[in-house]
Protein backbone atom coordinates (compact mmCIF):
# COMPACT_ATOMS: atom_id res chain seq x y z
CA UNK A 1 0.00 0.00 0.00
CA UNK A 2 1.27 3.44 -0.90
CA UNK A 3 2.38 5.52 2.03
CA UNK A 4 0.47 8.73 2.61
CA UNK A 5 1.70 11.89 4.32
CA UNK A 6 -1.87 12.75 5.29
CA UNK A 7 -1.64 11.80 9.00
CA UNK A 8 1.45 14.00 9.40
CA UNK A 9 0.14 17.10 7.65
CA UNK A 10 -3.30 16.72 9.18
CA UNK A 11 -1.78 16.26 12.65
CA UNK A 12 0.26 19.46 12.23
CA UNK A 13 -2.85 21.25 10.88
CA UNK A 14 -4.92 20.19 13.91
CA UNK A 15 -2.19 21.02 16.44
CA UNK A 16 -1.68 24.38 14.72
CA UNK A 17 -5.41 25.06 14.63
CA UNK A 18 -5.66 24.47 18.35
CA UNK A 19 -2.70 26.64 19.35
CA UNK A 20 -3.75 29.38 16.92
CA UNK A 21 -7.37 29.29 18.19
CA UNK A 22 -6.17 29.77 21.76
CA UNK A 23 -3.41 32.32 21.15
CA UNK A 24 -3.52 34.16 17.81
CA UNK A 25 -6.24 36.75 18.60
CA UNK A 26 -4.62 37.90 21.85
CA UNK A 27 -1.13 37.75 20.27
CA UNK A 28 -2.24 39.98 17.36
CA UNK A 29 -3.67 42.43 19.88
CA UNK A 30 -0.63 42.53 22.18
CA UNK A 31 2.16 42.40 19.58
CA UNK A 32 0.69 44.45 16.74
CA UNK A 33 -2.30 46.55 17.81
CA UNK A 34 -2.24 47.63 21.46
CA UNK A 35 0.75 49.99 21.11
CA UNK A 36 -0.10 51.48 17.65
CA UNK A 37 -3.65 52.13 18.91
CA UNK A 38 -2.33 53.78 22.07
CA UNK A 39 -3.92 51.25 24.44
CA UNK A 40 -0.67 49.85 25.88
CA UNK A 41 2.51 51.42 27.21
CA UNK A 42 5.25 51.05 24.52
CA UNK A 43 7.61 49.93 27.33
CA UNK A 44 5.85 46.53 27.33
CA UNK A 45 7.45 45.54 24.00
CA UNK A 46 10.73 47.39 24.65
CA UNK A 47 13.86 45.66 23.31
CA UNK A 48 15.42 44.88 26.72
CA UNK A 49 12.19 43.40 28.08
CA UNK A 50 11.36 41.18 25.09
CA UNK A 51 15.00 40.16 24.62
CA UNK A 52 15.17 39.08 28.27
CA UNK A 53 11.82 37.29 27.94
CA UNK A 54 12.98 35.24 24.94
CA UNK A 55 16.43 34.64 26.46
CA UNK A 56 14.79 31.70 28.21
CA UNK A 57 14.60 28.15 26.92
CA UNK A 58 10.97 27.60 27.89
CA UNK A 59 9.59 30.75 26.23
CA UNK A 60 11.81 30.16 23.19
CA UNK A 61 10.19 26.73 22.84
CA UNK A 62 6.68 28.17 23.28
CA UNK A 63 7.38 30.86 20.65
CA UNK A 64 8.88 28.26 18.29
CA UNK A 65 5.85 25.98 18.64
CA UNK A 66 3.47 28.92 18.17
CA UNK A 67 5.17 30.18 14.99
CA UNK A 68 5.83 26.79 13.41
CA UNK A 69 2.44 25.22 14.11
CA UNK A 70 0.58 28.39 13.05
CA UNK A 71 2.47 28.24 9.74
CA UNK A 72 1.67 24.54 9.23
CA UNK A 73 -1.98 25.21 10.04
CA UNK A 74 -2.21 28.11 7.58
CA UNK A 75 -0.26 26.18 4.91
CA UNK A 76 -2.53 23.14 4.97
CA UNK A 77 -5.71 25.18 4.98
CA UNK A 78 -4.39 27.37 2.14
CA UNK A 79 -3.70 24.22 0.10
CA UNK A 80 -7.30 23.05 0.56
CA UNK A 81 -8.76 26.55 0.00
CA UNK A 82 -6.82 27.01 -3.26
CA UNK A 83 -8.99 24.25 -4.72
CA UNK A 84 -12.14 26.19 -3.72
CA UNK A 85 -10.91 29.19 -5.71
CA UNK A 86 -10.27 27.19 -8.86
CA UNK A 87 -6.56 26.37 -8.46
CA UNK A 88 -6.64 22.68 -9.25
CA UNK A 89 -2.89 21.90 -9.35
CA UNK A 90 -2.82 20.32 -5.92
CA UNK A 91 0.68 18.85 -6.34
CA UNK A 92 2.26 22.26 -6.98
CA UNK A 93 0.16 23.93 -4.29
CA UNK A 94 1.08 21.31 -1.68
CA UNK A 95 4.78 21.59 -2.54
CA UNK A 96 4.76 25.40 -2.31
CA UNK A 97 2.81 25.76 0.96
CA UNK A 98 4.61 22.95 2.81
CA UNK A 99 7.99 24.25 1.59
CA UNK A 100 7.09 27.71 2.98
CA UNK A 101 6.03 26.19 6.32
CA UNK A 102 9.27 24.19 6.49
CA UNK A 103 11.35 27.29 5.70
CA UNK A 104 9.47 29.31 8.32
CA UNK A 105 10.01 26.57 10.89
CA UNK A 106 13.78 26.50 10.22
CA UNK A 107 13.97 30.31 10.23
CA UNK A 108 12.11 30.49 13.57
CA UNK A 109 14.57 27.99 15.11
CA UNK A 110 17.62 29.88 13.80
CA UNK A 111 16.43 33.36 14.87
CA UNK A 112 15.23 32.20 18.30
CA UNK A 113 18.57 30.49 18.98
CA UNK A 114 20.38 33.73 18.07
CA UNK A 115 18.54 35.67 20.79
Amino acid sequence: MAKSNKPIVWGLFAAGGTITAFLTPVMIFVTALAIPLGIMNPEVLAYDRIHAFLDNGFWKLVMFAFISLSLWHAAHRLRITAHDFGLRSDGIMATVVYALATLGTLAAAVYLLRI
Binding site: G17, T18, T20, A21, F22, L23, T24, P25, V26, M27, I28, F29, V30, T31, A32, L33, A34, I35, P36, L37, I39, M40, N41, P42, V44, L45, Y47, I50, H51, L54, M63, I67, S70, L71, H73, A74, A75, R77, L78, I80, T81, D84, F85, G86, G104, A107, A108, Y111, L112, R114, I115
Partner: protein, 129 residues
Protein backbone atom coordinates in the same frame (compact mmCIF):
# COMPACT_ATOMS: atom_id res chain seq x y z
CA UNK B 1 -27.67 10.47 -32.24
CA UNK B 2 -25.51 12.31 -29.82
CA UNK B 3 -25.51 12.03 -26.12
CA UNK B 4 -25.50 15.36 -24.36
CA UNK B 5 -24.68 14.90 -20.70
CA UNK B 6 -25.94 17.57 -18.36
CA UNK B 7 -23.11 19.77 -17.14
CA UNK B 8 -23.99 21.91 -14.19
CA UNK B 9 -22.56 25.40 -14.63
CA UNK B 10 -20.55 26.40 -11.60
CA UNK B 11 -18.43 29.55 -11.51
CA UNK B 12 -14.96 28.39 -10.53
CA UNK B 13 -14.00 31.23 -8.23
CA UNK B 14 -17.31 32.78 -7.12
CA UNK B 15 -19.55 29.75 -6.49
CA UNK B 16 -19.52 30.43 -2.74
CA UNK B 17 -21.33 33.77 -3.13
CA UNK B 18 -24.55 31.81 -3.69
CA UNK B 19 -25.63 31.34 -0.12
CA UNK B 20 -24.84 32.18 3.48
CA UNK B 21 -23.59 28.73 4.41
CA UNK B 22 -20.96 28.80 1.62
CA UNK B 23 -19.97 32.35 2.58
CA UNK B 24 -19.41 31.33 6.21
CA UNK B 25 -17.38 28.35 5.03
CA UNK B 26 -15.14 30.56 2.87
CA UNK B 27 -14.85 33.14 5.67
CA UNK B 28 -13.52 30.34 7.90
CA UNK B 29 -11.16 29.04 5.21
CA UNK B 30 -9.60 32.41 4.37
CA UNK B 31 -8.74 32.99 8.04
CA UNK B 32 -5.60 31.02 7.11
CA UNK B 33 -4.36 33.91 4.92
CA UNK B 34 -4.57 36.36 7.83
CA UNK B 35 -3.08 33.90 10.31
CA UNK B 36 -0.28 33.00 7.90
CA UNK B 37 0.63 36.61 7.11
CA UNK B 38 0.46 37.66 10.78
CA UNK B 39 2.72 34.73 11.72
CA UNK B 40 5.19 35.84 9.04
CA UNK B 41 5.13 39.36 10.55
CA UNK B 42 5.78 37.88 14.00
CA UNK B 43 8.61 35.72 12.63
CA UNK B 44 10.13 38.83 11.01
CA UNK B 45 9.88 40.56 14.41
CA UNK B 46 11.82 37.70 16.02
CA UNK B 47 14.46 38.06 13.26
CA UNK B 48 14.77 41.81 13.93
CA UNK B 49 14.96 41.13 17.68
CA UNK B 50 17.91 38.79 17.06
CA UNK B 51 19.66 41.54 15.06
CA UNK B 52 19.83 44.10 17.85
CA UNK B 53 18.01 47.05 19.36
CA UNK B 54 18.00 49.39 16.34
CA UNK B 55 16.63 46.71 14.00
CA UNK B 56 13.95 45.71 16.51
CA UNK B 57 12.89 49.32 17.12
CA UNK B 58 12.55 49.81 13.36
CA UNK B 59 10.21 46.83 13.26
CA UNK B 60 8.04 48.21 16.08
CA UNK B 61 7.91 51.64 14.40
CA UNK B 62 6.79 50.07 11.11
CA UNK B 63 3.80 48.50 12.88
CA UNK B 64 2.45 52.03 13.49
CA UNK B 65 1.77 52.46 9.76
CA UNK B 66 -2.00 52.83 9.09
CA UNK B 67 -1.94 49.94 6.58
CA UNK B 68 -0.37 47.64 9.16
CA UNK B 69 -2.98 48.72 11.73
CA UNK B 70 -5.75 48.08 9.20
CA UNK B 71 -4.33 44.65 8.35
CA UNK B 72 -3.99 43.68 12.00
CA UNK B 73 -7.53 44.82 12.81
CA UNK B 74 -8.80 42.58 9.98
CA UNK B 75 -6.49 39.78 11.13
CA UNK B 76 -7.83 40.10 14.68
CA UNK B 77 -11.38 39.73 13.35
CA UNK B 78 -10.58 36.71 11.18
CA UNK B 79 -8.43 35.04 13.88
CA UNK B 80 -11.29 35.46 16.37
CA UNK B 81 -13.69 33.93 13.83
CA UNK B 82 -11.25 31.01 13.41
CA UNK B 83 -11.20 30.46 17.20
CA UNK B 84 -15.00 30.52 17.42
CA UNK B 85 -15.40 27.98 14.60
CA UNK B 86 -12.51 25.81 15.86
CA UNK B 87 -13.89 25.51 19.40
CA UNK B 88 -17.42 25.21 18.01
CA UNK B 89 -16.60 21.80 16.47
CA UNK B 90 -14.69 20.43 19.49
CA UNK B 91 -17.80 18.47 20.65
CA UNK B 92 -17.57 16.51 17.36
CA UNK B 93 -13.88 15.68 17.92
CA UNK B 94 -13.90 15.08 21.68
CA UNK B 95 -16.48 12.67 23.11
CA UNK B 96 -16.28 12.38 26.88
CA UNK B 97 -18.32 9.54 28.33
CA UNK B 98 -20.15 10.28 31.56
CA UNK B 99 -21.86 7.15 32.83
CA UNK B 100 -24.19 5.90 30.08
CA UNK B 101 -24.10 9.17 28.12
CA UNK B 102 -21.64 11.58 26.60
CA UNK B 103 -20.88 15.01 28.03
CA UNK B 104 -23.27 17.52 26.40
CA UNK B 105 -21.88 19.43 23.38
CA UNK B 106 -22.32 22.73 25.19
CA UNK B 107 -20.06 21.61 28.04
CA UNK B 108 -17.21 20.48 25.75
CA UNK B 109 -17.34 23.64 23.59
CA UNK B 110 -17.96 25.82 26.67
CA UNK B 111 -14.86 24.48 28.42
CA UNK B 112 -12.79 25.40 25.36
CA UNK B 113 -14.27 28.91 25.18
CA UNK B 114 -13.55 29.34 28.90
CA UNK B 115 -9.97 28.12 28.40
CA UNK B 116 -9.58 30.54 25.47
CA UNK B 117 -10.73 33.48 27.63
CA UNK B 118 -8.46 32.37 30.50
CA UNK B 119 -5.37 32.06 28.25
CA UNK B 120 -6.10 35.42 26.62
CA UNK B 121 -6.39 37.05 30.06
CA UNK B 122 -3.09 35.47 31.16
CA UNK B 123 -1.31 36.88 28.09
CA UNK B 124 -2.87 40.33 28.66
CA UNK B 125 -1.84 40.14 32.31
CA UNK B 126 1.75 39.22 31.32
CA UNK B 127 1.74 42.25 29.01
CA UNK B 128 0.65 44.37 31.97
CA UNK B 129 -2.75 45.41 30.60
Amino acid sequence: MSRRPYVRELPRTTWWLKNGRYKRYIAREITCIFIGVYTAVLLFGVKRLSEGEAAYQGFLDALNHPLFILFHLLALGFATYNSITWFGVTPKAIRIQVGEDFAPDGVVAGAHYAGWIAISLVVLFMAGI
